[in-house]
């Protein structure tokens, strides 16, 4: 322990504590901007500076560690003045069009200004102007960027994708892909984690709400909506609920109130995914054990960011991916076939909207692979944040809504589907089904939870030994199935390197693109609660546990679907509608032509190009210190006046002279 004094009060804190953490433990909040607890301690905004006795300069409290006897003042006049000047500087290079910014009133820069009590910036100089860079998933407006670099840390250290980085230097510094390329043209996986951490309006999801409102307003469209598992434990936060609160019923009701004709649940196809993916896995294992060609480990495929990552980074290992589409595109495919037929609506008149915790889903639905019969499986994706905004705009009092069930036949789900929203969930759901299929017994874990793969660690693994299987799975007797689960792409990279080297010990791997899985997806509400992931995770598991049916194969509507339409898992028609294939992209998109850009944005050549800032022309101007105006007009008029007076005078003189002359003439005359 180290003894320090903060603002005159003594405290003992563990070694290695930063000043900011120490202050926090004394209920002192040190204003900051770039700092992000446990993620980003970078010191670029300098707002958190404090005065440390004996130090030459003010110290960034997010980085400076305490030492024995340290004396800190977090609120001295010098500190306050420095923070204000720094804030003014930040503001001087910010777009400041707050009223029309998506982050209005949820902006950390705004909030900081309020905290610091700054009312003006005295610095008015050049402002960094950049064109909007809009991709299908993510929109970058670098004229709002405050260069906190949280996104850079997320992109490089957490996700390991290395797309966003500081380019150029000094005032010209800008965050973006190398060589000013638009984010849609590089190996960005659209995970959207950068949009979650961005404190301002510089990084955000590309708007999907307009298309949805248009469809809802079109009387000829049948509007169908589905919500992903992770939405229900997070959207409440946007309306004042604690993270993890279950608001599933209100969510379904709100969508109905907004005007959707059918409110389905992606959870339903999550259950279906388990049937398809479980069967696929068993097929691969069987093939492997019988000496046939099979790619193991098999890797889950429901996270589109992860898919794009592997397509860029390991284009030669794509056959390890399960061929299953992600649950929401499965649901889209079924809606426009199975359900369309059922209700006799032309699938062309259907508009399927997915509410997703994910920005990469916006990209996914644009993929050519996600089409059947020439129709996109899903027509629009909105994120949790966007849906919350739509609910707000629709004037729905979310908090007071009554609960409602999802619509059938594509609305019912088991607990196994709920846990798709959290890391380890897909694996656990799959195991619940596969183990029972193979052995005829329930998965031997308490509460059906595969505890080794529950939690937020980067890589989790477990061994499941198959003993005494059913006769048709005799070939699996005694086999130890090795599984691994990871979330966040930095972890995926570790597992993929093993595969690339041929050293992977696993049979089945679950990869989620975002750390923690979909609960903290790139489209989820931004939260400053450091425990938000844990709370949402708990919410997901309690949703699972609250259900009577907790195994996918128990879902009666799934069974019905197979009976009525799909025949059996991995059937021909299932393959056609529910499975897909992948595209080799390469690190710099060297294997593909397609650039995923929205058609309404500007032509590509202009994308990401910096706007030339016109410098003031100063050379043409005359010297500042010019000689005083000569007032020619005034001078000339004065001169005219002088001349007139002179003339008058000489006139009078003349008159006098004449008078004199007359007088003398008169006087000379003899009387």
């Amino acid at each position: 322990m180290v003894n320090i004094t903060i603002n005159g009060n003594r405290i003992s804190v563990p070694e290695d504590t930063t000043i900011m953490e120490a202050a926090k433990s004394m209920n002192i909040h040190i204003p900051n901007l770039c700092y992000l607890e446990n993620v980003h301690q970078f010191g670029s905004c300098r707002i958190c500076v404090v005065e440390v006795e004996g130090a030459k300069t003010l110290q960034a409290s997010c980085l400076a560690k305490v030492y024995e006897g340290m004396v800190v003042d977090t609120n001295s006049p010098k500190v306050r003045k420095a923070r204000r000047v720094l804030y003014e500087l930040l503001l001087s290079d910010h777009a400041k069009n707050c009223l029309s910014c998506k982050r209005n009133q949820s902006c950390e820069l705004q909030e900081l200004g309020k905290t610091l009590g700054v009312e003006e910036t005295r610095f008015n100089g050049e402002h960094s102007e950049y064109n909007l860079d809009t991709s299908v998933s993510i929109t970058r407006d670098m004229s709002k960027c405050v260069l906190c670099r949280r996104c850079v840390t997320i992109c490089n250290e957490v996700q390991g994708t290395g797309v966003l980085n500081a380019q150029n230097r000094g005032f010209e510094t800008v965050i973006g892909p190398a060589m000013d390329l638009p984010v849609g043209n590089v190996n960005c996986v659209f995970c959207g984690q950068c949009t979650v951490v961005c404190p301002v309006g510089a990084l955000k999801e590309t708007d999907g709400t307009k298309k949805v409102w248009d469809a809802l307003g079109d009387p000829n469209k049948r509007c169908i909506v589905q919500v992903a598992p992770a939405i229900r434990v997070a959207i409440g936060e946007e309306f004042g609920f604690e993270p993890g609160s279950q608001v599933t019923g209100k969510l379904a009701q709100s969508l109905k109130t907004m005007g959707f004709d059918d409110v389905f649940d992606t959870d339903f196809t999550a259950d279906l995914t388990i049937m398809e993916e479980g069967t696929e896995f068993l097929t691969r294992v069987k093939a492997a054990l019988t000496g046939e060609n099979a790619s193991l480990p098999m890797i889950t495929s429901c996270s589109p960011g992860w898919i794009k990552y592997i397509e860029h980074t390991y284009p030669d290992l794509l056959d390890h991916l399960s061929t299953c589409k992600s649950p929401h595109t499965m649901l889209g495919a079924l809606t426009k076939t199975y359900y369309a037929e059922k209700i006799s609506v032309d699938p062309k008149d259907m508009f399927v909207v997915s509410v997703m915790p994910c920005t990469a889903k916006k990209f996914e639905v644009n993929r050519n692979e996600m089409k059947n019969n020439g129709l996109a499986n899903v027509d629009a994706v909105v994120t949790t944040r966007e849906l919350a905004q739509m609910i707000l705009e629709a004037g729905i009092d979310f908090k007071s809504l009554p609960d409602r069930e999802f619509d059938n036949p594509l609305g019912m789900s088991t607990g196994a589907a709920d846990i798709f929203g959290v890391t380890g969930g897909v694996m656990e759901a799959a195991l619940r089904t596969v183990y029972e299929l193979v052995t005829g017994r329930e998965l031997p874990f308490e509460g059906l939870h595969v505890t080794p793969i529950v939690g937020l660690e980067r890589i989790k693994e477990a061994d499941i030994k198959i003993e005494d299987p059913l006769p048709e799975y005799k070939f699996l007797d005694g086999v130890v199935v090795k599984i691994a689960v990871t979330s966040g792409l930095a972890g995926a990279k570790i597992l993929m390197e093993q595969i690339a080297k041929g050293e992977s010990p696993y049979h089945f791997i679950e990869v989620m693109g975002c750390p923690g899985g979909c609960i903290t997806g790139g489209g989820q509400p931004r939260s400053k609660d450091p425990d938000v992931r844990m709370k949402r995770l708990k919410g997901i598991y309690s949703e699972d546990e609250s259900k009577t049916l907790r195994k996918s194969h128990d879902n009666p509507y799934v069974t019905k679907l197979y009976t009525e339409f799909l025949e059996h898992p991995n059937s021909h028609i299932a393959h056609k509608l529910l499975h897909t294939h992948y595209t080799k992209r390469g690190k710099s998109n060297e294997f593909v032509e397609i650039k995923y850009l929205l058609d309404e944005v500007m032509p590509m050549s202009e994308q990401g190009k910096k706007v030339e800032i016109k410098k003031k022309e100063s050379s043409q101007k005359p010297a500042k210190r010019i000689h005083e105006d000569l007032e020619s007009v005034r001078v000339l008029s004065l001169q005219a006046e002088v001349n007139r007076l002179k003339k008058e005078l000489s006139d009078s003189m003349e008159t006098i002279d004449i008078l004199k002359e007359v007088m003398s003439d008169l006087s000379k005359k003899p009387s």
């Binding site: 010191g43 670029s44 905004c45 300098r46 707002i47 500076v49 300069t57 003010l58 960034a60 980085l63 400076a64 560690k65 010098k78 003045k81 420095a82 000047v85 720094l86 500087l89 930040l90 001087s92 290079d93 005295r122 610095f123 100089g125 050049e126 405050v146 260069l147 670099r149 980085n165 500081a166 150029n168 230097r169 000094g170 005032f171 010209e172 510094t173 100063s618 050379s619 043409q620 101007k621 010297a623 500042k624 210190r625 000689h627 005083e628 105006d629 000569l630 007032e631 020619s632 001078v635 000339l636 004065l638 001169q639 006046e641 002088v642």
Partner: protein
């Protein structure tokens, strides 16, 4: 040479002996400098010519020719040194080199005019050891630089190289080495000056399997190239220094981070590394010890910030070159997370000699607190630009004036920027400050890495600050807000100020912003970035204020603020290019009137002005400055002779207010003239019988004829000014009465009393003070002139007195001056003319006593010799008495003319603010004294100064008085005169000034006839056509 491994001291000795034996075979060695500076001035052709010529004369066996690193004299490159004679040839060309070979090697003659020219001594100094530039240096880090073959490890060893490494590795423990370095007091030469030994000890104490040593050769300061010179001239000393340091701290790997802009350095270092490795001096078990060490070059990406150690390490690791917060310090957690010690090139270069000679030896150099020597890169407006190494603590002024040779073109020293863009200014009054870490810190600058940029009077300090900040802004890495946005905003404010868009409050904003950046920036770059601004604000605040309030740049740099440099320099702001154009087109009367808008005395100023404008004339860069002043005189004389041709002044109707002016000198009359023209009733009170003040009584007739003065005074009277001659305030009318009668008063009484020199005998007959003497002469009073006259002083009064004495019949006139003649404040032209007339100047003497002869009249003067000492506040060297050097000279008349002072007996000294020098105090931004309604200007405020400034004051006072009395402050300058547009687009052809007609020295000695006769009309027009018209801008 085959690459045999060097393992023992005997191996080293063998190489040394063999190399030296080899050399002794040659009769001559010719060392051609191949430093970066000489390479760019094409030393390769010189080298080839030397080789070719030596071959031609068949002496190739007797002459060893080789390239060396930088010799230091970069301004006069290419250079070469011929041994054993140690003759130093400069500014070589192929042709000169061939001539030298013939002369020197065959005829054994030195071609003097190709050897080093000492500007201050005004002569060639052929031998290296006699040249001040080299003589005053002590070269430790640079010991081999320029003196050995940079590419030969044998040459390095022959000069004692690698013996220190052997000693360290084989005979000393790690702690011994560290102890020796600590004892030496060597501080890191990269900038911060952290003691090297202490740093090494910290590195040594770190418990880690892996440690690294890094050499910082990312020298980025503009104008600094010390490290570059060392690498290029003596790469092995860096390697040896690093081997020793690596051994001391326990690192087996060293990185040398060289900036990519130094390709020659990279190439030479690479070659040296290979050679060292071949010889076994790098690699496994060096000198058969247990110590293994190797080095790699890392090429920097050209970012200034990579000189910051954490950014440098990031760059070596392959990351974006950005600094990070310290602690942890590199010695704890550095390169690849391992303990790392970083020093710069110069630091390592000092290590081998320290180990060889011992720490105590090194500590003998320098001061009590800072030991050893420091290399500086002299740049800017100094004569000898280049690389020098001096003991720490040498006064900055000595480096600039002794070694650097002083400021180029006899311009005035203004300041020196030391420590690079993050450093600060050394001012004129700080020239005696020792170049030492601690002392420099006290005056708010830093030693830095050794950049020393000299700036002369033509430097605008606001623009200088802008320049450095522009550099820093571009070099900011962009990581933290303070530096990224802060420096940009500071730069923008400075740019506004230099464009004339500065606002009151900008300086305060700059200070606030600068201090915040210093306090909050993450790394050293940001923390020091505002220094040039804060430092210039501190020392040159008035220049900032002039830019902001008056839109005036005194140095004539910020071109948005003026018409042309000449106009800008003229205290009265006469539109020079305007009248040049008018003269060139033959419109002389218009030209005259254009001048009279700003200065009512063109004929007078045309004769006696000190011509500050001509010093700034850009034509100087082509050939000679335009004869601005002579042309003014020409148009004035022309107007005088054709009086009816020019328009009379327009006078505004009377406004009913009246002004009293005290003193009818240049300042008083100017003020009166402008006030009268805008309608005031102006009465000028003059105690003498003639108007003109010093113009009438102080300036001899041979310079300013009486009729010229009378004519221009008459024009002032024509504008309505009443001059009351023989009316002395205090005698004929009281000041109180004046105050009661007039709405405002302008005091321009000048400095009319001679300063006593306070030596015994000053009151003896035959002693007459300068201004009294000149006054009597001007009044044609009878003066008992001596035959052997001594004049004491160096100003214009002294010169005028001397020349007048000569004309009055003195047989011999001598001027005694306490400094050197080139430091005389008198006009150079006047001194020159005086000497032409036979007047002798004795330098460096001061009078002690005037001694009377038998008749009671002075007949001897006792003097003492003086020498030049340290620098005074004006940047000149003080003259210091030489003890026991008294001597006497015969004389029969002494004219002391050292200075004058002001007196105004009509006001009580306690009624009005007076400076310690007896001049009047003015309120800020106006010409008003501390007494309400009483204004003042000219010498009574400034002390003895130039006429043109007195005129400018008079004009300014007229504006202030008008404003004070409720007017607009706008002067009536008559009708606008349209200046013809300059259409001549011809290329500029060099042509010196058109000469003036002048009396010859013999004739003028005996007469008061005007010496200069002026221009012929055609020559005048031609001269005016030489004007480059700087006022034209795109």
């Amino acid at each position: 040479m085959t690459a045999e491994k060097i393992k023992t001291i005997a191996d080293l000795e063998d190489i040394r002996i063999k190399y030296n034996k080899d050399l002794s075979k040659y009769k001559y060695q010719i060392l051609v400098c191949a430093g970066a500076g000489c390479i760019s001035s094409n030393c390769a052709t010189v080298r080839d010519a030397v080789i070719d010529e030596v071959n031609k004369i068949g002496m190739q066996e007797k002459v060893k020719i080789y390239e060396t690193g930088c010799m230091g004299t970069c301004a006069v490159g290419p250079v070469m040194l011929i041994l054993p004679d140690r003759v130093f040839y400069t500014e070589l060309t192929e042709k000169k080199a061939r001539e030298i070979i013939h002369a020197h090697l065959i005829r054994n003659e030195i071609i003097q005019e190709y050897t080093f020219f000492d500007e201050s001594l005004k002569k060639h100094v052929p031998e290296m050891d006699d040249i001040n530039f080299f003589r005053k240096q002590i070269r430790i880090a640079l010991r081999n630089c320029g003196l050995i073959e940079y590419g030969s490890i044998q040459a390095y060893i022959a000069n004692g190289g690698y013996f220190a490494a052997y000693k360290a590795l084989r005979e000393m423990s790690q702690l011994d080495v560290i102890g020796e370095v600590k004892k030496s007091g060597l501080k890191g030469r990269g900038g911060a000056g952290f003691p090297a030994g202490v740093k090494w000890e910290a590195g040594y104490k770190q418990n880690s399997e892996e440690k690294y040593l890094v050499c910082n050769a990312d020298e980025g300061d503009p104008g600094a190239f010390m490290d570059r010179s060392i690498i290029e001239g003596d790469p092995h000393t860096v390697i040896e220094g690093m081997i020793i340091a690596g051994y001391a701290i326990g690192a087996n790997m060293g990185y040398i981070y060289i900036r990519a802009e130094y390709p020659i350095a990279v190439e030479r270092m690479k070659a040296a590394l290979e050679e060292a490795r071949k010889c076994g001096l790098l690699g496994e078990r060096i000198f058969d010890s247990d110590f293994s060490f190797d080095m790699e070059i890392r090429i920097g990406a050209g970012a200034f910030v990579c000189g910051e150690e954490t950014a440098l390490m990031a760059s070596i690791e392959g990351h974006r070159g950005e600094p990070r917060q310290k602690p942890p310090f590199p010695f704890q957690q550095g390169l690849f997370g391992k303990p790392t010690i970083i020093n710069n090139i110069e630091t390592f270069a000092n290590v081998p000699p320290i180990l060889m000679n011992g720490g105590e030896w090194y500590a003998k150099f320098g001061t009590d607190v800072s030991k050893g020597t420091k290399v500086f890169a002299l740049a800017g407006d100094v004569i000898n630009t280049g690389i020098v190494e001096v003991p720490i603590g040498m006064p900055v002024g000595d480096i600039i004036f002794e070694i650097g040779g002083g400021v180029r073109e006899k311009k005035k020293f203004k300041a020196a920027q030391i420590g690079g863009p993050s450093g600060g200014c050394v001012m004129m009054e700080n020239l005696n400050v020792p170049a030492e870490y601690e002392s420099l810190k006290k005056i708010d600058t830093i030693m830095g890495s050794g950049g020393l940029i000299v700036m002369n009077e033509d430097t605008c300090m606001v623009d200088t600050a802008r320049f450095f900040l522009d550099f820093i802004k571009d070099e900011s890495c962009g990581k933290c807000v303070a530096c990224r946005v802060g420096t940009k905003r500071m730069l923008e404010i400075l740019e506004r100020i230099t464009r004339g868009e500065g606002e009151v409050g900008d300086v305060e904003l700059l200070i606030e912003l600068g201090e915040t950046i210093k306090e909050t920036a993450m790394c050293g770059l940001g923390q020091t970035a505002p220094n040039p601004v804060l430092s210039t604000i501190k020392y040159f605040r008035e220049e900032y204020d002039e830019h902001i309030k008056n839109k005036y740049c005194r140095a004539g740099v910020c071109s948005d603020l003026f018409i042309s440099p000449c106009e800008n320099t003229c205290p009265a702001n006469v539109n020079v290019p305007g009248y040049m154009a008018l003269v060139a087109s033959g419109r002389f009367i218009d030209a005259y009137n254009l001048i009279r808008q700003e200065n009512p005395f063109p004929a007078i100023c045309g004769r006696i002005c000190t011509r500050p404008c001509e010093k700034k004339c850009r034509r100087r860069t082509v050939d000679e400055a335009i004869a601005i002043c002579d042309l003014k005189r020409f148009v004035a004389d022309y107007a005088m002779q054709n009086e009816k041709a020019y328009t009379r002044d327009i006078v505004f109707p009377k406004n009913g207010k009246s002004i009293a002016v005290i003193g009818a000198g240049a300042s008083g009359l100017t003020c009166a003239y402008y006030l009268a023209k805008i309608g005031y009733d102006v009465d000028v009170y003059e105690s003498n019988d003639t108007a003109g003040g010093v113009l009438a009584y102080g300036i001899p007739e041979y310079r300013l004829p009486k009729d010229v003065l009378a004519h221009e005074v008459k024009l002032v009277e024509q504008a309505g000014v009443k001059i009351l001659l023989g009316k002395e305030v205090g005698r004929d009318i009281t000041f109180k009465e004046l105050k009661a009668t007039y709405d405002a008063i302008y005091i321009a009484t000048g400095t009319n009393l001679p300063q006593k020199i306070n030596v015994p005998g000053e009151t003896l007959p035959g002693v007459l003070h300068g201004i009294e003497f000149l006054k009597l002469a001007n009044m044609h009073k009878n003066i008992d002139i001596g035959a052997n006259v001594m004049v004491i002083g160096g100003g214009n009064t002294a010169i005028d007195s001397a020349r007048t004495a000569l004309r009055l019949g003195a047989k011999k006139v001598t001027i005694l001056y306490r400094r050197t003649a080139d430091a005389m404040p008198a006009l150079e032209q006047e001194v020159h003319e005086a000497m032409e007339e036979g007047i002798e100047v004795v330098e460096l003497v001061a009078p002690v006593r005037f001694i009377a002869g038998a008749n009671g009249r002075v007949n001897k003067i006792e003097c003492v010799k003086m020498r030049l000492g340290d620098f005074d506040a004006s940047g000149r060297r003080r003259s210091v008495l030489v003890e026991d050097s008294n001597f006497t000279l015969d004389t029969d008349m002494i004219i002391p003319a050292v200075s004058q002072y002001a007196d105004f007996p009509f006001i009580g000294k306690d009624e009005i603010g007076v400076t310690p020098w007896g001049t009047l105090v003015l309120q800020e931004d106006m010409q008003m004294t501390t007494m309400e309604g009483v204004f003042a200007g000219g010498d009574v405020v400034r002390g003895p100064d130039e006429v043109i400034r007195a005129i400018a004051d008079g004009k300014q006072a007229a504006i202030s008085i008008d404003k004070y009395l409720g007017g607009t402050g706008r002067l009536n300058k008559g009708e606008a005169i349209k200046v013809p547009e300059h259409t001549d687009e011809d290329e500029i052809i060099a042509h010196n000034r058109f000469p003036l007609e002048m009396l010859n020295a013999e004739t003028r000695k005996n007469s008061f006839e005007e010496v200069i006769k002026g221009y012929h009309k055609l020559n005048a027009m031609a001269e005016a056509m030489r004007c480059l018209h700087c006022e034209r801008r795109q």
